[in-house]
């Protein structure tokens, strides 16, 4: 077997003997590949709906072909442009805040020395992840209402003179969504970072102590660089998800007054696609979303390749 060296373009010849040797692995991965094809690639043929005037009665092959009409409708609709802006904005805000919170939380938790405090705190912190969004948004909706606890406290401490209905003002919506995401996901996201931190060689910390580093310096020079690979990989994976800013939170917390900032692409697809029986429009919007996400991931990966040694592919 020829060994591939980094700058040599040597094609390894795969012989039947090699395949037979890895027989078991081949069989198992065969099933995975088949699963992938059936559930991830075959449904992509449905993308043709975006170019048709799809009617469930007529099916994929019978519906009328209309080319880019649906896309034209989308991009001429100023609601859709706003919706793209909302999705991007909330996606980016969520990404930034949840990442920062998760890293901070992991680092701080790591500094806790006593295991009997650390373990329960960590367990409690990731419990909200298992709650459904319905429960979380109900709690948030009630807490932030004019008669809710937040207004109650603010009034008591004299911070405001009159209760604010936080859901009536578009400017509060994105921060509320970011807060909801952080509250629910910080503990869960921090798990990976905590694991990465634990993997850092304790000898480094000892060496740093000997050199006279204090706690903050240890964090800055050892912990941060130690989790950098994890951080970059997770960032790369999440960046492709930025347009999946969500559906549930915005759907449940939104209302008529804030709809100009609360509607995401998914809600738009639901309202103008499924509810209007216009599956083509919904597919067109979804196609657009996928195209943008792929572009983002490819660009991010290229940047990662160039400036660090972490990359997805």
């Amino acid at each position: 077997m020829a060994r591939k060296k980094t700058n040599e373009k040597v094609r390894t010849k795969i012989t039947f003997k090699d395949i037979k040797k890895q027989g078991f692995l081949m069989v198992v991965s065969f099933f995975v590949v088949v699963y992938g094809i059936i559930f991830y690639y075959w449904p992509l043929t449905g993308w043709i709906m975006a170019f048709q005037n799809y009617k469930p009665k007529k099916g994929l092959l019978g519906s009328k072909f209309v080319g880019l009409d649906k896309f034209k409708f989308l991009f001429e609709d100023e609601v859709f442009i706003k919706v793209i802006r909302n999705t991007f904005a909330m996606g980016v805000i969520n990404l930034v805040t949840t990442t920062i919170m998760a890293v901070l939380f992991a680092i701080i938790l790591n500094e806790v020395r006593r295991a009997w405090i650390k373990k329960p705190i960590q367990t409690i912190s990731y419990l909200p992840h298992f709650l459904s969004w319905i429960v979380v948004t109900s709690i948030i909706h009630v807490s932030l209402s004019p008669t809710g606890i937040v207004n109650d406290l603010l009034l008591r401490f004299g911070v405001i003179k009159q209760a604010i209905n936080f859901f009536a003002f578009p400017k509060y919506f994105w921060p509320i969504v970011a807060f909801a995401n952080c509250w629910k996901e910080t503990g869960w996201n921090a798990i990976i970072y905590l694991a990465a931190i634990t993997a850092i060689d304790p000898a480094l910390y000892e060496a740093a102590s000997i050199d006279g580093a204090d706690r903050l310096q240890k964090i800055r020079y050892i912990t941060f660089p130690g989790i950098k690979p994890t951080f970059l990989i997770l960032l790369l994976m999440n960046v492709g998800n930025v347009l999946n800013a969500g559906f549930e939170v915005q759907y449940l917390l939104g209302n008529g007054l804030v709809q100009s900032v609360s509607q995401t692409i998914d809600i738009y697809v639901l309202k103008w696609g499924i509810s209007q029986n216009d599956y083509s429009l919904g597919t067109a919007a979804g196609l657009f979303k996928s195209a943008v996400s792929i572009a983002i991931i490819v660009i991010a990966n290229k940047l990662a390749k160039k400036y660090s040694d972490q990359r997805l592919f």
Partner: protein, 577 residues
Amino acid sequence: MKVKKIAALLLSCAMMTSLLAGCGNTAGGGAADTGAADTAATADTAADTSADTGSDDAGSGEVTNFTMFITMPGSEINDDNEIAQMIADKWGVKVKETWLTGQTASEATGTLIAGGEYPDFIDSDEMNLLVDADALVPLDDYIDQYPEFRDTWFTPEEWDKFRQPDGHIYWINPFGNTMGETKQTTHNDEAFWIQVRVLEWANYPKIETMDQYFQLLEDYIAANPTMDDGTENMAYTILCEDWRYFCLENAGQFLAGYPNDGSVIVNKETMTIEDYNTSEDTKLYLKKLNEEYQKGFVDPESFTQTYDEYIAKLSTGRVLGMVDQWWDFAYTVNDSFKQSGLDLKGCNYVPLGLTTKPGMENRWHTYDDTVNQASGIAITTDCADPDKAFKFLVDCAMDQELHDLRFWGVQGVDYDVDADGLFYRTDEQRQNWADTSYQAAHRCQYTYFPQWHGTSRDGKNANKPEEQPSEFMNDMAEPLKNCFNAYGYTTYPQFIGSVVETNGPWFPMYSYSNNFTTETPGGVAWAKMGEVKHEWLPKVVMAKDFDKGYAEYMDAYNACKPEDFIAEMQAILDTFK
């Protein structure tokens, strides 16, 4: 160590099996219970043209389980519900109803279509989508098999209203049919509601306009800022969540004296469509709300509360007044008042038919039967036994015994018969009937199957207990009864005093606009108008400068091209000329 290994193995097996729990046969799952044997037997009985036999299907024996989905919220009854079992024993059919939760009707229907699996019966607000997807069974032939049902239920013109462009009838509206003498005691529509304790405090005045209404509420709050137990009274709240925002949105058409065409005003003299959204009456209405909001008498949570929060608020008894439709709040809230004793404190609501100027005619109340052709009960193509399904539908309409079981309950348990043959209830029976757990365990109304108002076939009793004059009055708490007596009224519609007239054959126009989709420019305009109104009506009410806010609203509104929508509605109205 071995114990650990075995425990681990058992746990992982349990996990694997729980994965499989999600797989079940859902398509026509209910009907699958019917053995192949009795489809033959039931086909025989269905082919009989002896229509209104309250026949016992003792011949076929097996109970067929059907599923049904209704795009309205509701409570499911227990699987071992007593009356459901009695109906199953006698008529051979049990229906498992599921209701709408957490979605809009369009989303639920759209998702069903996308998934391709339907329940046996369906009643959706988006019937057109289902027809387009070829999901429904044409009912024409079945209807003709039951001539007595066909002739009693609708007139030929009414049946024609349900005919789709392809000539078939796919659904039958189960409501709004009065048998014999009308005994209409409730006002099942929209109104400005007010609590009886407010009217009592003011010594039962005559309230005709919005100004008088709000003045009364303000005065009451000034005199009684809290209830007995210290909860603050709230003058007025508004529900505007999603499709229920009619509470805010269409009051303008009523205030101008027109009936509930829902999405437009029909000028009968000129047979033209008028847009109430831009009318002077709506502007005055919004201005009044704006005034009251700035004064602090309108609930600040109005525009962000969900339907559940709204109902919870009403149930506390602290809200003095609102605009809403009876069916939207009354059943839940009145039952809850009865349970908590708030009805004894005068928290029940009565309707007022306000108009812009005093002394105007109003048409808040619809006196004749409204045939809403936009939706109704339909049988889907996934139903394994449409014959038996349709027969049950007919039984619901034609069999008095079944009707009484559904709406009165079991004789001796839920109601008794007096010496004159009239049905009546004791207090305990009334309490039970209003109790939610009793309802789930015992009451089975099949509310979206055909039903009658008016008089029972026995000529004496009402088809529905709430319309039985004796029951109606007896069921009321003291304060409510006093209110009725003070004004000399015996029914709710009398509070409103609407003009008694028959509506045109086009009524209600909302049944047409409900079916618009974005395929037509009128439909696109309608969808956009909805979005604009959702955003702007609250803003206009909350605006510090009303005129500026209203002008901005009009700009956004006109950008939706409402003229397309009006034109399409006009075209529909023209077919009635």
